[in-house]
Symmetry: C2
Subunit: 390 residues, 2 copies
């Protein structure tokens, strides 16, 4: 507890999600303690209560949990057995190990989702390259091969167009001890995402459905609301709510969706605050970070409606090794305004070091402004706003 009687939320991991959750916690009066691997991590730089330890270490996690009223996560790369043990001993871990497994174990997720009638692509477990060949014989090349666990941001996902590639991928994966699954390739018209926050008793709120613009498996922009039909948006929200019910997740979680031939297919889920929800920080009645805290504390959730007709988030992906600081004045001077959200990380090429939100009435103008601000902040040369990759 804090000195003024507020609960302390422990966050395993000290990346930017923990950092932004901490910002929301300050307003709510809630204490935050982060478990960081190094004192220079994003959240550890701004939050006074920092434990140094490993998310793989059961001892570190148990010691950390003992100092917090509830434990939540900045990322999924956490020792599951330790989390389950903390829960068994009566500790509050939100999301718990049960819900987390859906995000960490893709085979489990696909199996459970398919059984529940949720839209997933055809999939199969892979023990050998022959399994991939057999799957492709039924569903056609290319196929998508995925690591069952541990992949993110396009890592651990391979689009495979024939037997030779399949053999090589299976050989490499087996050498690393990586279990695989194979899925039918989904021709993507657009990528969407929907965020849902869920309390322990089942109360949920859903955020406006957004379009995510990906390049090379990395999210570059998020457009809110997504320019899709009301039917598609409703379907996305229904999928998010059904996953909340099925997994029993507590906290905010994101469902990434492919829009293909007018239908939605589930791509991935993440049981934590998510890049696709950063638009909510400047544009929604309650940010994803505040609702995450409210959910894990079992407090009533806040409204999620947009306060502006359009908001676009653009990620800041490093182009060089230079500090962003000298570039801020030019970026924030853009007519109409933008909000930078910087993560306190040294810049490296390709590293996600922040994001910028722009808001406005016209979606195209808003998007162009966000993209331009991101380019100015990272030092990237930009012409017109890049098109969609699909």
């Amino acid at each position: 507890m804090t000195p003024d009687g507020f609960p302390v939320v422990g966050i395993v991991g000290a990346g930017q999600l923990a950092r932004m959750t901490y910002q929301a916690a300050i307003a709510l009066g809630v204490g935050v303690r982060v478990l960081a691997e190094r004192p220079d991590e994003s959240a550890a730089r701004v939050c006074p209560l920092v434990d140094i330890g490993s998310p793989d270490s059961r001892a570190d996690l148990e010691a950390f949990a003992a100092r917090c009223d509830v434990v939540t996560l900045d990322h999924e790369l956490v020792n599951d057995e330790a989390l389950a043990a903390i829960e068994s001993a009566g500790g509050l871990v939100r999301p718990g190990a049960h819900a987390l497994r859906y995000a960490k174990d893709k085979l489990h997720q696909r199996t459970q989702f398919a059984q529940a009638g949720l839209p997933v692509p055809p999939f199969a477990e892979v023990h050998s390259a022959a399994d991939i060949d057999g799957f492709a014989a039924k569903h056609g090349w290319p196929v998508v091969v995925k690591a069952q666990r541990g992949g993110y941001d396009g890592r651990g996902v391979w689009i495979v167009d024939g037997s030779d590639t399949a053999v090589a991928i299976v050989r490499d994966a087996q050498a690393r001890g990586t279990a695989l699954l194979v899925e039918a390739f989904v021709p993507i018209e657009r990528e969407l995402a929907v965020l849902v926050a869920r309390r322990p008793g089942g109360e949920c709120v859903v955020y406006p459905v957004v379009e995510t613009v990906q390049r090379d498996g990395i999210c570059h922009e998020v457009i809110a609301p997504a320019a899709v039909s009301p039917e598609v948006a409703d379907e996305a929200r229904r999928i998010g709510l059904r996953i909340a019910e099925l997994t029993g997740v507590v906290g905010i979680f994101a469902t990434e969706l492919f829009l293909t031939k007018g239908h939605l297919v589930i791509n991935e889920i993440a049981t934590r605050p998510h890049n696709s929800g950063h638009f909510s920080m400047d544009a929604c009645a309650t940010s994803q970070f505040e609702n995450h805290l409210r959910a894990v504390l079992d407090w009533p959730l806040g409204p999620t409606d947009l306060l502006t007709p359009s908001v676009v988030m653009a990620n800041l992906l490093g182009e060089d090794h230079d500090s962003l600081a000298p570039r801020i004045p030019t970026a924030v001077a853009l007519p109409g305004g933008v909000h930078p959200h910087l993560y306190g990380k040294e810049v490296r090429p390709g590293r996600k070091v922040g994001h910028v939100n722009a808001w406005g009435v016209d979606a195209e103008e808003t998007r162009a402004r966000a993209v331009q601000a991101a380019a100015l902040l990272t030092g990237r040369t930009v012409g017109a706003a890049p098109g969609r990759t699909s």
Copy 2:
């Protein structure tokens, strides 16, 4: 500088204004160091860079300034000579001692404002009770007697209705060494406030004019935008901008105004973020705290437009000694939603321990929701929304 090359803003004082400025700084990547008198102060509880020292001590202020790229203020009760000395030695103090004097020395402010044609009530310096009598003979009883320096939140202000009271106040003030001035009593229709942020070069942005609802000299609610004629709102903005120009203030500052017989009269100014600007945190394109940071860093200022038709702030004034934490679920469950902003302070009767913002379309409903949330959070019994005091 921070490890990733961002400037460090030093804030003298570690109250809630420093705390909320720190929240805005996290997003901008800007470092914040606070000079606190005690480690349990509002901002010192959430910000890792804390120096313990006194705002009265020249040595403490100079040591503090040496560790910061620019120094700004949480409150005005700071050693002026020390600030001036830091500026003379080349340090950046924003607002500087020149602008700060307008907020701290009411006789100086009234004299300068009157010379500049700004609307202030008739006033005079007071050396004896006879000066008050003479002033009242010209302007009528009651008169308003004020401490020239050091008053705030209704302290250091007396409404005096006759010679006997005047004699007593002057005697007490002289015993304490408090210099006084006297002003004509202004019959208040409404109290308004306007916030302006100003960069060193003179660029300014103005926030929507608000109505402040005061009781016993304490601000209880702030209604944005104020329900006044466009002419009155324009006049308020012009006054704010004229004061910015006259004082050369750098940073955000608030001008509190009386609306009397259709005209505006300047009540007070505060050269820092201000309670009357807390509505901006959840409802404006750029909060007062972000624009304060941008101003003192000489970065372009952000747009100040409201993202919602109506927003109302209600202060949380302690009713008892109980933690607010157990009361949050009921308050945030109000239909339509509210945002609590809590200051991490132990609750005491009358102590300002936080505020709550409500936003919506209908001003009356929004106000009722904010007032009800504040009552629920503080444990106060509430019937209808309290009326204005004027």
